[in-house]
């Protein structure tokens, strides 16, 4: 469906159609229903698909037999890419019911090349009683035996399952098993085996050749790179050679200026997708006059705003980095659907269409309290509220003076309200504050007991803010809220309730302002993470971190002990010996302690996909070492960045980080068991530290 197909219906009908369009996008897995969205360019799989398709359309025998595997979780766009490959090919099973999903499809190109498509390798139920259970390995085997090209959509679980199945002793089954092993881990291929694999470590596109037959294998790992980053380009389109990346995957710095426009985002798969959706909504020509009391219509309006949509994409990318989990297409679609059409309340009537729900709540009433309560519910259905977590309605809330998230969402992890730094937003400065205009407006209003006509106008009057991020819905919401809490309300709300409403409204405006400006929580730390990643990605393997980060990580993992007078840092690191948790001692106390002593700690890093892996090593030159590998994810980075001058800071993530760090310290302790002079007893008296070696 495209915007131009939208029938010239009433504004209400068009709204409903647009909402239903977004709610129904999940069906994109059936690509025929949304062909305009089928350009899933993740890891350049679309270009690889085109390369594969062109080979199929050439005369038989022109190119070697090719097996193409799209590997990844459901919702990554495999089906869309697969559909593009087989588009226009002649089905070898024309009598099949087209409305049903099958595991296998057979096609033939006009030139006579055969193609077997394993549409869903997870479908492993036998087709009839007594029949053999289908398996990807059997499919690969039959393709190898019959010389047929193969395109298979695979998830890792299936590969693993079939790897442990016993081989039947035939050569083709053994080769098929080797292909599965290669898909499972293309970096660890037996050089003496039947497969010659490429050495493109840390790439989403991997290739190999079967030594005996020359059959070519291509695998695209659909979730290796983020949808929110520019994908590396394919080097050449020469059909005789295997596809290969001509550039490196990089993380774009999180600067506001680069990430605030479509010109950046439409180079990324997610950005291209969201822009298409945004363009479609624009084409619906929703009338402005009906926006005032309808949050869903305001949501659609926001999504057509470049700044808002880019802010949404930036927040989703931030979510990926904070949680170390990728957002696949299916989740992105779910987020868009939720951002536009979520009922913040009234789940008891699950089948009530969101438009009807809005219609019911937006009726005018003489009961001002009820009207405010309903309007806050409607406000909670605005995209920014749904995305960062729906807040409790202060008209029904408990005793807490703050708004609480009552229904979280993935983006709650980057809710800008939890990181509302005072200051003025600067497009070119990641470190700038941003919340001043809103905080000031509420402080002013609080001081004068809200004599001002409108809180929103106080915010928008600020020259740094402007009013282009608000919709008519916000103006109506502001009118209702100011009418109930302002000077003219004449004690309509008790003081406590009034302050709760103001707190909710403050958070509401903060989130809207932030999302429209690409602001999310933890941006300074995330920026540092991306910088570190990009520095490390330049080296082929483990390399040094920058001095500051290395120092802070060392202070976090194995800090040096402070001197007796507490004014400086000593030369050694100490661990407790018999405590349940192996702790690094930061300062000696008056009580005697048995401790294990060590010197150097070296921290190196390398990139793996979007992640950073650290190699930690302890030991003196030439001596015994303890080595461990730990993922430097966002949580660990935060913990490290709050360390300063040998002192550890504490963040909300401290508890999450402690198990793996503590385990590394425990491993170091085991290594010290072999070292002479490592165990001593230490006590401190005033500024004097006494240490006696025990072993």
């Amino acid at each position: 469906m495209t915007a131009s197909d939208t029938p010239a219906e009433s504004a209400v009908t068009r709204l409903r159609l647009a909402i239903d369009y977004l709610r129904g996008l999940q069906d994109v897995a059936q690509p025929t229903q949304q062909p305009e969205l089928a350009s899933a360019g993740v890891a350049r799989s679309d270009e690889v698909a085109e390369w594969f398709r062109k080979r199929l359309l050439a005369a038989p025998g022109t190119y070697p037999q090719t097996l193409l595997f799209l590997v990844g979780a459901p919702g990554n766009g495999k089906s869309a890419v697969s559909a593009a490959i087989r588009h226009g090919l002649e089905s070898a099973d024309p009598s099949r019911d087209a409305s049903l999903h099958y595991r296998l499809y057979r096609f033939r190109s006009s030139e006579g090349n055969s193609l077997l498509v394993v549409n869903d390798a997870t479908m492993r139920r036998a087709m009839s009683p007594g029949a053999a259970r289908p398996s990807l390995r059997a499919d690969i085997r039959s393709c190898l035996e019959e010389g047929i090209n193969l395109q298979a959509n695979v998830n890792r679980g299936i590969v693993f399952d079939e790897l442990v199945d016993r081989e039947d002793g035939t050569e083709s089954d053994s080769h098929a098993a080797h292909v599965l092993r290669w898909i499972h881990n293309p970096d660890e291929v037996d050089q003496n085996g039947p497969i010659a694999a490429d050495r493109e470590r840390q790439h989403a596109l991997r290739t190999a050749v079967m030594k005996s037959s020359g059959v070519q294998l291509v695998a695209v790992y659909m979730d290796y790179y983020s949808l929110f980053e520019e994908q590396p380009s394919i080097e050449s389109e020469d059909l005789t050679t295997l596809p290969k990346y001509g550039s490196k995957y990089q993380l774009q710095p999180l600067n506001f200026d680069t990430r605030a426009s479509w010109s950046y985002w439409n180079k990324t798969p997610a950005g291209g997708f969201v822009q298409k959706v945004s363009t479609y909504i624009k084409g619906c020509e929703l009338s402005q006059e009906d926006l005032r009391r309808d949050p869903l219509r305001a949501n659609l309006e926001s999504l057509t705003s470049e700044r808002f949509a880019c802010g949404l994409l930036a927040s989703l990318r931030a979510f990926e980095l904070v949680t170390a989990h990728k957002v696949p297409y299916r989740r992105l679609i779910g987020v868009l659907g939720a951002a536009v059409a979520t009922k913040s309340r009234g789940q008891e009537q699950a089948d009530e269409h969101p438009c009807d729900w809005v219609q019911r709540l937006s009726q005018t009433t003489d009961d001002k309290r009820k009207e405010l309560e309903n309007f806050i519910d409607l406000g909670n259905s605005r995209s920014h509220q749904v995305l960062f977590g729906i807040l409790s309605n202060p008209m029904r809330a408990g005793r807490s003076p703050q708004s609480e998230v009552v229904r979280g969402s993935p983006l709650t992890a980057v809710d800008p309200v939890c990181d509302a730094v005072h200051g003025d937003f600067k497009l070119t400065d990641i470190d700038s504050g941003w919340a001043r205009p809103i905080t000031n407006a509420f402080q002013t209003a609080g001081l004068t007991d809200i004599e001002a006509d409108s809180l929103l106008s106080l915010v928008c009057e600020d020259p740094l803010v402007g009013s282009d991020f608000v919709t008519p819905f916000e103006e109506e919401l502001d009118r209702v809220i100011t009418g109930c809490v302002g000077g003219g309300a004449d004690g309509l709300l008790p003081a406590e309730e009034r302050s709760r409403v103001l707190a909710w409204y403050h958070d509401y405006l903060c989130r809207l302002y932030a999302l429209s400006h690409g602001i999310y929580a933890h941006r300074v730390w995330l920026h540092r993470y991306v910088q570190t990643w990009n520095t490390l990605s330049r080296a082929a393997d483990f390399t040094r971190l920058d001095n500051d980060l290395e120092k802070r990580l060392s202070e976090l993992i194995l800090p040096k002990v402070r001197t007796g007078d507490g004014t400086g840092i000593g030369p050694y690191r100490y661990l407790t010996v018999l405590t349940p948790r192996t702790a690094a001692i930061e300062e000696f106390g008056a009580k005697s302690q048995v401790v294990a002593k060590m010197e150097g700690l070296r921290v190196m890093g390398r990139t793996l996909g979007d992640f950073i892996e650290l190699r930690l090593a302890v030991g003196d030159n030439g001596g015994s070492h303890t080595e461990a590998r730990v993922n430097l994810d966002f949580s660990l980075l935060c913990e490290a960045l709050v360390c300063r001058d040998g002192l550890r800071g504490v963040t909300a993530r401290t508890n999450a980080e402690s198990p793996r760090l503590e385990r590394f310290r425990a491993a170091v302790l085991v290594g010290l068991r072999r070292q002479p002079n490592a165990i001593s007893v230490v006590s401190r008296s005033g500024a004097t530290v006494q240490e006696h070696i025990l072993l």
Partner: protein
């Protein structure tokens, strides 16, 4: 009503798996009992309540003898200081040795669990374990014989009765040779704090084997495999001494709690068979128990909705009633099959069990009245083993499967495995330190233990990821690699 011949009086062994499960004081308590089944001290005091140290905030209890001296008990303190200097010749003065003695008191103490009257010594070696007796630790004359119950469980899992203690004490001996510091403090304790040398003894079994045979895919089979693994020498060497002891304690706690819960389902399953008059075999009963899975792991937003306390409370109350009924009415040494066959032919038995259990829901609702001591003991056994133990100070309990929230009427106990208990189960699923396994295999172990949940792999994957042992992938369906938490130390 009797389910056996009229001359009954003693329990049919096949119907009683474990002897009176009760509160487990601490993981260290279980390990202390295991060591005491193979070693003894020839001293009258060691027949009673011997403790490591009283808790400073508890009043002095004359009936308990404290093995770790204070500086005020000059003679004993002096003997300790001499032995410290002997063990560590690098110490130049008595004052230095006193510092070590001071430090040892704190470092040898186990977890400081709330409301417990004494500090427990970490059982790092046989001599260190002898710094306390089970009666001293438990604060009662006849504490529950956890060592026997664990041996019974190990046997049900496919092991040999007595091997729990044998393997553990052998491993302790290996720890002493692998860790010089442990070896030295062991000698300090043996010569400086104990009144006599340790003497070996053979564990004695009270009663016959249940004769039930091996039960695969159960908490017992997991315990058998895990205990064999953790007591291997490579595992002793791969972990810090204290951590290895903690892991042993965690394995014992987990097996004990889940095993007792499994046994409760065993009685309930027998009762159901008697009530319904269905023909059953011993195997069909335990297969039913295995398939049922005793503990549902729910993670809904409402803590009350995730509660498992009401479920296992009811199961244990029912189990205690059935067990008492069977003990009274079944004949000694009568085979299981004979008992159930006779019972299921008897309408009277069916009615009797019906009557016994008719007001079970009412009983569950009562706080304590209407619930037998043995039922409360069973519930206490499960909770004390599996639930997070609050500590009064120092390091927290890191090895729990259940957590509690709310108070009294709004109390909810729910499944929430700690990262460390997940790390223990996952690591022991690897064959050797430094090995790998998969989320699916770890989930299988948790299922054997009795955890019930659809798509257990996904939820467990989250815990293992928090523990830093795996990285989840959406499409892996549990095939993600899980690393062992500890690897052998190697020279680089």
């Amino acid at each position: 009503v009797s389910v056996a011949d009229a001359d009954s009086g003693n329990p049919c062994r096949a119907l009683v798996l474990f002897n009176a499960p009760d509160h487990i004081h601490s993981a260290e308590f279980a390990l202390t009992q295991i060591v005491h089944s193979r070693w003894k001290i020839d001293d009258l005091k060691w027949d009673g309540k011997v403790i490591f140290r009283p808790k400073s905030d508890q009043g002095h209890d004359e009936s308990r003898y404290s093995t770790y001296p204070t500086r005020s008990s000059e003679k004993r303190w002096g003997r300790l200081v001499v032995e410290v200097r002997n063990a560590f010749p690098s110490l130049a003065t008595d004052a230095d040795a006193e510092r070590v003695a001071d430090a040892l008191e704190a470092e040898l103490s186990g977890l400081r669990i709330e409301r417990q009257r004494s500090l427990v010594a970490t059982p790092l070696s046989p001599a260190l374990t002898m710094l306390q007796t089970p009666a001293g630790v438990a604060g009662r004359d006849n504490p529950v014989k956890i060592d026997h119950i664990l041996e019974d469980m190990y046997e049900l899992g496919g092991g040999e009765w007595g091997d729990v203690a044998k393997r553990y004490t052998d491993a302790l001996n290996h720890l002493r040779s692998a860790d010089k510091y442990v070896e030295r403090i062991d000698s300090v304790v043996e010569t400086g704090l104990l009144p006599a040398p340790l003497e070996a003894k053979n564990p004695t079994r009270s009663g016959e084997s249940s004769g039930v045979g091996q039960i695969p895919n159960s908490p017992f089979s997991w315990f058998h495999a895990a205990w064999k693994t953790i007591t291997e020498e490579d595992w002793v060497e791969a972990l810090p001494a204290r951590r290895w002891i903690e892991w042993c304690g965690a394995v014992a706690r987990l097996a004990y709690g889940m095993g007792v819960l499994w046994e409760a389902h065993w009685y309930v399953a027998i009762a159901d068979a008697l009530r319904e008059g269905t023909a059953v075999t011993e195997q069909s009963i335990w297969e039913g128990c295995n398939n049922y899975k005793t503990l549902p792991w729910r993670t809904g937003p409402d803590a009350y909705g995730n509660d498992v306390w009401r479920e296992y409370r009811k199961t244990n109350i029912e189990a205690a009633l059935v067990r008492t009924f069977l003990k009274k009415s079944a004949a000694k040494d009568q085979p299981f099959q004979s008992v159930v066959d006779k019972a299921h032919r008897s309408e009277l038995v069916s009615q009797a069990v019906d009557t016994l259990l008719e007001d079970i829901d009412k009983r569950v609702g009562m706080a304590s009245q209407g619930v037998s001591m043995s039922a409360e003991d069973r519930i206490d056994a499960v909770e004390s083993a599996l639930k997070e133990r609050p500590v009064s100070e120092g390091d927290p309990d890191a090895y729990y499967l259940l957590r509690e929230t709310g108070k009294t009427r709004s109390k909810s106990i729910f499944v929430d495995p700690s990262t460390e208990i997940a790390a223990v189960v996952a690591s022991l699923a690897c064959e050797h330190p430094g090995g790998t396994t998969t989320v699916r295999d770890v989930a299988e172990d948790f299922r054997d233990l009795g955890l019930r949940r659809d798509n257990l792999e996904a939820e467990l994957g989250k815990v293992l990821e928090r523990a830093g042992l795996c990285r989840r992938a959406h499409d892996a369906d549990g095939s993600e690699d899980v690393s062992c938490a500890f690897a052998p130390v190697r020279d680089v």
